[in-house]
Symmetry: C2
Subunit: 316 residues, 2 copies
């Protein structure tokens, strides 16, 4: 086992960064890279990465595992999604630029130094403080059908409550896209709810441990963790047409919970325009029979802002 630093060189806007890295090589086997702190207001990832570092050195039986708990320490310390220095979303800057701003330089260092040593990447996210979603592993559709099938199988190995195939219009610059283009599997774990809690962290860690067992990197028996009194795993997909958007500015009042099944016409929530008390609530209904994947749970919503993500069973 070795610990070291990934150095992101100094640039015009900020000094050099040293990102702590742990690496352990136990011979033939999968070469896995685990990263956290891609977005700074998603703290589950850095914490779960640190918990892995507590037990993985003993538990790993083969292959190579590299762990970087904080890809973007500037954003983590500021508890912001984007990097405070240049205002950029690191996960839209891949593959990065060596002579760019600090987010671009971080992306460049990851792409050049870390990506080549891995065939599989788990990028540990959570959904930030404005959304409620169930513990999930998500992936965006991959053009190569074989790689896609392999990625879905690997995602289901987490045995988390939801495996989600997420159709997304803006994947340019994502870490996923760069990895997929190189024929590697990149999966994102996602946890909702804003707050970091003891129970949620235990579920998150159990999911990652299950995936390590499925990869053969550690011994053990994979079990779905208990979420809301249930042990279950389902594989869903959400399309861009499944985004429910807000017809007006206001505060959203959820009237349903994640993983609830709704029928066409069921009430999802109510939008409260706060400018006038005589304006009644705007009721938001489900346009189709669906499963609620994500529900807005904080922040002032602008017109056309997302209120909910609907989902349905993945067609294979």
């Amino acid at each position: 086992m070795s610990t070291g630093y990934l150095v992101v060189p100094e640039g015009a806007d900020y000094e050099a960064l040293s990102l702590p890295v742990l690496s352990q090589n136990k011979g033939d086997g999968p070469r896995l890279l685990i990263t956290g702190g891609n977005h700074g207001n998603e703290l589950e990832g850095p914490l779960v990465a640190r918990r892995l570092i507590d037990w993985l050195p003993e538990a790993q039986i083969c292959g190579m595992v590299t762990i970087v708990p904080e890809l973007n320490p500037l954003a983590v310390q500021a508890w912001t999604r984007n990097t405070p220095v240049d205002g950029k979303n690191l996960n839209r800057e891949f593959p990065g630029r060596a002579d760019g701003s600090v987010s671009e330089r971080i992306a460049d260092a990851i792409t050049r130094v870390l990506l080549p040593i891995a065939d599989t990447i788990f990028d540990l996210h959570s959904f930030g403080p404005k959304w409620d979603i169930p513990p999930s592993v998500i992936l965006h559709p991959i053009a190569d059908a074989n790689l896609m099938a392999k990625a879905v199988r690997m995602a289901e190995g987490f045995k988390l409550p939801v495996t989600l195939v997420w159709e997304h219009n803006e994947t340019a610059g994502m870490f996923d896209t760069v990895a997929h283009n190189q024929g590697k599997v990149l999966l994102c774990t996602e946890f909702g709810g804003g707050t970091v809690g003891a129970n949620d962290l235990a579920i998150y860690e159990a999911g990652v441990r299950n995936a390590l067992i499925a990869l053969g990197l550690v011994d053990g028996k994979a079990e779905p963790p208990i979420f809301r009194q249930k042990k279950s795993s389902r594989t869903l997909e959400t399309l861009t047409s499944d985004e429910l958007r807000s017809p007006a500015r206001g505060i959203f009042e959820p009237r349903c919970s994640v993983l609830e099944e709704v029928k066409q016409g069921d009430l999802i929530g109510v939008l409260r325009s706060m400018e006038s008390l005589s304006a009644g609530p705007i009721e938001i209904y489900s346009p189709t029979s669906s499963i609620i994947y994500g529900i807005r749970s904080g922040g002032y919503v602008e017109t056309n802002g997302e209120l909910a993500y609907l989902a349905r069973s993945l067609k294979r």
Copy 2:
């Protein structure tokens, strides 16, 4: 029933604001003011205020109720604790200044126009996105023992999981302090967890309805709402010496949940210094036998930042 606006006059830093106000006078009885949105990243208050406006006009049987869903619309729209224009915490600016910055002018308008027409104030807060706490009604100690006893009784009328007497070193400038100095009862409802969820809103609304029943403003039977599978209410106190503070910078990983009873020496959580992977976790233990009232659940923690609030049964 009448709706109107509380006008906060224009000043050097910002234009005039019009805060929507609902008022209903049904003769003799308590004169209650209900306010939300004192802090802008606590959206439960504005939402519960709007839900009250949906049913109170029919349900109110006596007295006068005035509702202002958003005391600080600038902060609510920005989803920030403080007012973005002047960077001030509205709840430290009371009684305010007519010729001050916009936060001071809001406080002044509330103190001059709204406070005189009420004998009781419910200021609907939540704990912001970085803390987990149970649904509670809190009050700071009041020097006048009779007023204090009356306030505790009224707080217990919410029948929420916790009624909390909170010793606080910095009460200057709080809305509470100004109200108490005028012999009025001001209670704050507090909800933790960052996210606004359907279940939490139902508990919050039930608590406020219980308090309205206890005041005789509406008919009905008060029932403790169900929180984590339990129906119970307890009255606690937390002292300034019950604040557990961080020995270093890092990310806090909670290892316990709110309302858990801990003994002296029990593990509360673990602080992860993120600068080096060889630095082990710093374990945080409970210094006394206590009940966990609040636990840090998000955001990077600075040295000496609060990690937890311990509590114990109120001595009467």
